[in-house]
């Protein structure tokens, strides 16, 4: 196992970079982080449309969620790669295609989780905000979302780790992320699939475990801050 890491370490970390495209673990991380960063606001918009008052928006969001849920991600990636360029008239880089497909797919799932968080809030919260004269934006972003999102953190973490793992589907359209590079290593080595896929599995485990630990830490921190805000700040 160590020989594999010694021989292919740099390739596994950064792919062909700097004389070629960035790949390997670095690309997996970038795809994951960008996907997470774009998915989150999209999911919030979907959740707001799903739980909001506007019937057309509700219908659009629900149609989107239901169609996405009925498609395997692999197929979505495939169609994004081959059909999207036809629609827009020029080809899109495979990495962007992958990110777009993951965002579209996960926004639907994450949106449903956040929507559930919003629906789970007591009605009195919205009424109280209304009664104070708060408009839609402060009600949504100061009252509803901070509570709704905090309440569904476990579900959110679940989706976020799924995003990391799903980036491995990029290998089907030759995005040189970690899994793809591992497949290349495997085809060079031929006889060590157990070790190679062991390293791959361990790497995904570490990434996902680190993410869920980080989120746990964040969750506790928010909880602490919500209980123990420093008095000095108020008195000052």
């Amino acid at each position: 196992m160590l020989e594999i890491i010694r021989e292919y370490g740099l390739m596994l970390l950064i792919g062909e970079y700097p004389h070629g495209k960035l790949g390997g673990l670095a690309l997996t991380l970038i795809i994951s982080i960008v996907s997470l960063a774009v998915t989150f606001p999209c999911a919030i918009l979907i959740a707001l449309a799903r739980t909001g008052q506007s019937r057309p928006l509700k219908a659009i969001a629900s149609g989107f969620v239901h169609s996405v849920r009925a498609i395997p991600l692999l197929m979505l990636i495939f169609w994004a790669y081959f059909a999207l360029p036809m629609a827009i008239g020029f080809p899109i880089d495979a990495t962007y295609t992958l990110i777009i497909a993951i965002v579209v797919y996960q926004a639907a799932y994450l949106g449903e989780i956040i929507a559930a968080g919003i629906q789970g809030l007591p009605n009195g919260q919205v009424e109280a905000a209304k009664a104070l004269g708060l408009g839609y934006v402060p009600t949504t972003f100061r009252v509803i979302l901070p509570q709704a999102i905090f309440n569904v953190i476990p579900g959110i973490v679940n989706q976020l780790t799924t995003i990391i793992k799903e980036s491995s589907l990029g290998s089907i359209i030759a995005v040189s992320e970690l899994s793809y590079v591992m497949l290349q290593v495997n085809s060079n080595e031929v006889t060590k699939p157990l070790q190679i896929f062991g390293i791959l599995a361990a790497t995904y485990f570490i990434l996902c475990f680190a993410l869920s630990q980080a989120t746990n830490w964040l969750e506790r921190r928010i909880a602490n801050r919500r209980t123990g805000r420093v008095l000095v700040e108020v008195i000052a």
């Binding site: 292919y8 004389h19 169609w79 030759a174 290349q184 495997n186």
Partner: protein
């Protein structure tokens, strides 16, 4: 999920827009752009793979595509493609040429134009060296591991009607099954099997080829339909390297006497291989 269905759909999609992309001026377009976009595999050593040291694609097909680019006076650009998507990558115009071990088949020839062959390799049964199996007929009634969807499955079933074919997702899984005795044999492309043999070590049981090849499978460059002048140029190029000896040199470097595979070339560069269709 049925991946093949998606592939068929994707290829159909590709075919649908063929008319828009498949301009008759492909060769001129490439010359104007100054770049030949080669679709290559990076997981099939020694034909196309990712070199561990340079971390760049290397191999027989990759060098060959570079030679062809030079022949028509442009620079090569390498685009890795996966076996699942390579046909669509070509028909959709993401690459100009496939140098990606695309074996001849009638179905493929309906969607793309093939040049003459630049490689033909034997596919043979491989068993554990310690096994008592000596000839192909000994495999009758035994379990044989192959990769799902491979053209080798019907051929194996035809050659050994009594054998039980187990299909695996990847060749790595089929290799493990052979190592663990779950199957008695698998089928390897010559260069792939040799690489496995070479890498056999303490933990890996040695392998042995059975003499009688299951088939010899040729591959050529593939182009989008509708540019005969490009195909013609490719054939001329292949014939020229056959004649000049550059082809032999290339073969020796990656597969023949200068490589650790020590294979013998049994094909002629650029010779139309229409009679070799595997199915």
């Amino acid at each position: 999920m049925n991946l093949n269905l998606f592939l068929a759909a994707a290829v159909f999609t590709g075919a649908a827009i063929l008319s828009t992309i498949g301009s008759a001026e492909q060769l001129n377009d490439i010359k104007t752009a100054g770049i030949l976009n080669c679709g290559v595999l990076t997981n099939s050593p020694p034909l196309g793979f990712q070199d561990a040291k340079t971390r760049e694609p290397a191999g027989y097909e990759i060098e060959l595509c570079g030679m062809f680019a030079k022949y028509i006076g442009v620079k090569p650009r390498l685009t890795p493609v996966s076996p699942q998507t390579r046909m669509a990558e070509l028909t959709q115009g993401r690459v100009d040429i496939l140098a990606s071990l695309l074996s001849y088949s009638k179905e493929r020839a309906e969607q793309v134009d093939f040049s003459g062959a630049y490689i033909a390799e034997d596919f043979s049964f491989v068993v554990l060296d310690a096994s008592p199996i000596k000839v192909v007929d000994d495999l009758s009634g035994q379990r044989i591991g192959l990769v799902k969807g491979s053209v080798l499955i019907p051929l194996t079933e035809k050659r050994l009607p009594d054998a039980r074919v187990l299909s695996f997702e990847t060749s790595a899984a089929s290799f493990l099954a052979l190592q663990q005795g779950k199957v008695k044999a698998t089928v390897y492309r010559y260069s792939e099997g040799k690489a496995v043999q070479r890498n056999a070590g303490n933990e890996i049981k040695a392998l042995r080829f059975l003499d009688e090849p299951l088939l010899s499978m040729p591959s050529g460059f593939a182009f989008r339909k509708g540019s005969p002048e490009l195909v013609k140029t490719a054939d001329e190029f292949l014939a020229s390297i056959e004649k000049s000896g550059e082809g032999q040199k290339l073969y020796d470097k990656w597969l023949g006497k200068d490589s650790d595979l020590k294979a013998t070339r049994k094909f002629e560069f650029g010779k139309p291989q229409s009679t070799w269709f595997a199915n």
